[in-house]
């Protein structure tokens, strides 16, 4: 099963990259054959790295939620970018490394959250505690109110991202 998923995904990426022939629809016949061979090789070599133990990401609803999530994410990213541009020009920074506990269980949702935090300017995930699933985040303009309490309020750092990550992959 994991072999099949890996091979199909590898073949699809190959097909998208080699559009531009005439033999079969949009592809050259030779391209299709070479792609099939390479997809089998990739599937055999990488299946355990690519798929892992649970198959919940096969559910199309989760991918739909992921596409919906892109809109609030891009909005937060644009807002944070303007904020960081302001900090670059004025030099007003207040950096800190804070620990947040997003209460996520699966590796996939934690990866989505960590990548969202890193892609949003102003916050950068530095390290992860793999036993408790806590993230260490470098925050360029730490809010003094949040720094006073010890279980950090993650809403000021990463907005509603943990809730979305939980919906997508937890």
């Amino acid at each position: 099963m994991s072999f099949l998923i890996t091979a199909v995904v590898a073949y699809l990426i190959y097909l998208v990259l080699t559009i531009g022939g005439e033999d079969v629809l949009l592809w050259n016949a030779a391209d299709l054959a070479i792609g099939a061979v390479l997809a089998v090789v990739a599937g055999a070599l990488l299946r355990n790295r690519f798929v892992g133990k649970d198959l919940r990401m096969l559910n199309p609803v989760r991918w739909l939620i992921f596409l919906v999530y892109l809109f609030p994410f891009l909005y937060a990213m644009a807002k944070a970018n303007i904020d960081v541009a302001y900090r670059v020009i004025t030099g007003r920074i207040n950096p800190a490394i804070v620990k947040i506990d997003p209460r996520l269980r699966s590796d996939m949702s934690l990866t989505i959250l960590a990548n969202s935090i890193t892609l949003t300017p102003g916050t950068l995930s530095v390290d992860v505690d793999e036993e408790t699933n806590e993230l260490y985040v470098h925050w360029i303009n730490a809010d003094p109110e949040t720094l006073k309490k010890m279980p950090r309020d993650y809403r000021r750092i990463c907005y509603g991202f943990p809730a979305w990550a939980r919906r997508i992959a937890d």
């Binding site: 970018n81 960081v84 950096p95 490394i97 890193t118 892609l119 470098h138």
Partner: protein
Amino acid sequence: MAALTIATYVFLGIGLFFSLVGVIGLHRFPDMYTRLHAATKCTTFGAIFLIAAVIMQSGAIWAAEGAYSAQSVMCIRATLALLALLITNATGAHAIARAAHRSGERPIRAVVDDLEGKETD
């Protein structure tokens, strides 16, 4: 067509502005972590707009010419490049920051460091 050309120039302008901010930040910020913010995030945001401009232009020519053309290849590959950039940039920034903290690089002017003295392996 005119509106599309204007939109393309606006996107190019925004992209160049954020790339420039990234370069300025690289020189202004005091330590590795804050520089990483400027160097990776602002340039990623700039690159999104630059690639979006390419996608819009080539997509419009593709729609006008119809079916397969050299522009359709450009449009699809630019989209793939954008996806690859988003994934690798976040992962790369995370790897650099983690490696720096483990090798003893401390954030300058930091008010709080929860990770201080903690070894997580």
